[in-house]
């Protein structure tokens, strides 16, 4: 048993313990924090399972954004859970145990993890994505290639879902706001978080720079529009937490964000329309550079990744703003 197999077993064990601890925790604050830990562990597992891009995203989203979302929600609602009545525990537990047993029984028909002869590995599409893509696209990171080129329609759909969810949150959170008292907030933050403020301010440009690097480097290493957008969002969330909503809104007002949410989707769809105008199909990037199709592909992929990054970042920050400025109405 190599040390990597051992690591996989230990991490899976940690996941089980954490999941059980989450269901048992009465304090929702604790449950949300353990949820963040759960995400960190899954992200490490994704690295062991050779999915670095997924690990990248899960770390940024699960451990970062979701935890922040849940904790903000708890700040706006109740952070203590009522005890679960027995009449709900027993049937639910029974269903869960039976379903687990059923799934484990069914799993014997699955090929083993890592089986090189499994249908997934022998299907002809595997070869298309891994070998032919190198001639078609010249993008070493096949995940980015498949995401942005082969399955470009699908990704456009996903971006529209994110757009819709963002708009949904903004609409749900219209209404009463916390009365803003900028001077008092600033005094409080300066007194309480002096060191954190200095460090956050120093780190902020590097975080944004790193997000840009992730966006532009996505064709050669782990990264891309989704990951970059989330890192941008995390940077602005950090800044908002340490300097207050009023300060960050001077740089990136809500009005601009709402426009940016749409701009990203429009860039993506616009690339599709542009390729159609050039005589190709929707999102057929070869048309950008007919003499050198793979050059056109690289340009097209980069453009849509920028669109994705803008929408994801704007949605994440806009959702956070609208939650954090929500007035508590009782």
């Amino acid at each position: 048993m190599s040390s990597l197999d051992l690591a996989e077993a230990v991490l899976l064990g940690i996941l089980l313990v954490t999941a059980l601890a989450i269901t048992r925790a009465r304090s929702l604050f604790v449950a949300a924090m353990l949820g963040g830990l759960f995400s960190l562990v899954t992200a490490s597992l994704f690295v062991l399972l050779d999915a670095v891009d997924v690990a990248f995203t899960e770390a940024a989203v699960g451990a970062g954004i979701s935890t922040v979302l849940f904790i903000t929600a708890l700040a706006l609602t109740n952070s203590q859970e009522a005890t679960t009545p027995r009449r709900r525990v027993i049937p639910a537990g029974l269903v869960a145990v039976l379903a687990t047993a059923g799934l484990i029984y069914a799993s014997f028909d699955l090929p083993g993890v890592g089986d090189p002869d499994s249908p997934v590995q022998t299907h002809p599409i595997t070869d298309t994505y891994l070998r032919e893509s190198q001639q078609d696209l010249h993008v070493p990171n096949t995940v980015t290639g498949v995401l942005a080129s082969y399955r470009g329609y699908d990704t456009l759909g996903e971006v529209v879902v994110i757009f819709t969810a963002g708009i949904g949150v903004l609409l749900l959170m219209l209404g009463p706001r916390r009365p803003a008292d900028e001077a008092r907030d600033r005094a409080y933050l300066q007194a309480e978080y002096r060191v954190l403020r200095v460090v956050s301010k120093t780190l902020m440009p590097f975080i944004l720079l790193f997000a840009l690097y992730v966006l532009l480097h996505g064709e050669y290493g782990p990264g891309g529009g989704f990951q970059a957008g989330v890192i941008f969002g995390a940077g602005f969330i950090l800044y908002t937490l340490m300097f207050g909503l009023a300060a960050v809104q001077r740089v990136l007002p809500m009005r601009t964000l709402v426009v940016l949410v749409a701009v990203g989707v429009l860039i993506y769809a616009g690339v599709g329309v542009a390729t159609m105008a050039l005589g190709g199909g929707f999102l057929d990037y070869n048309e950008f550079n007919p003499g050198n199709p793979s050059g056109g592909q690289v340009a097209g992929i980069l453009l849509i990744e920028v669109g994705v990054g803008i929408t994801v970042a704007a949605v994440m920050v806009a959702m956070f703003y609208s939650l954090i400025r929500r007035g508590v109405r009782r």
């Binding site: 060191v195 954190l196 460090v199 120093t202 780190l203």
Partner: protein, 105 residues
């Protein structure tokens, strides 16, 4: 080459020692503030020693630079986070172990 590998092994082992002892301290120390001490040690000393050990094995410039960036980042954020936590805990009235002992007497 062998000298490099030996040096990296020594650093990795030292870092591992910090990681494990820090973990034990985090679990066994009697109050929050002493636990911050254990956590701070494993976050800064343990992490940086392991990263330096890896640095000696780095095959190219790119991974070396990244390792240094990670180490610098951890060195800045680790102590900051620990400090902020201890500060907030103190303001919230989390008591030091010795104070609790005094109360009991």
């Amino acid at each position: 080459m062998i000298a490099l590998e030996v040096a990296s092994s020594v650093l990795l082992l030292a870092g591992s020692l910090f990681a494990v002892t820090g973990g034990i301290g985090l679990l066994r120390f009697p109050d929050f503030y002493t636990r911050t001490h254990a956590a701070g040690l494993m976050d800064s000393a343990g992490a940086v020693l392991i990263l330096l050990g890896l640095l000696l094995l780095a095959p190219d410039l790119g991974s070396g630079v990244r390792l240094l960036l990670i180490a610098a980042f951890l060195l800045i954020t680790g102590p900051t986070a620990t400090h902020a936590l201890a500060h907030a805990a103190r303001n919230d009235g989390v008591r030091v172990w010795a104070e609790r002992v005094d109360k009991k007497r």
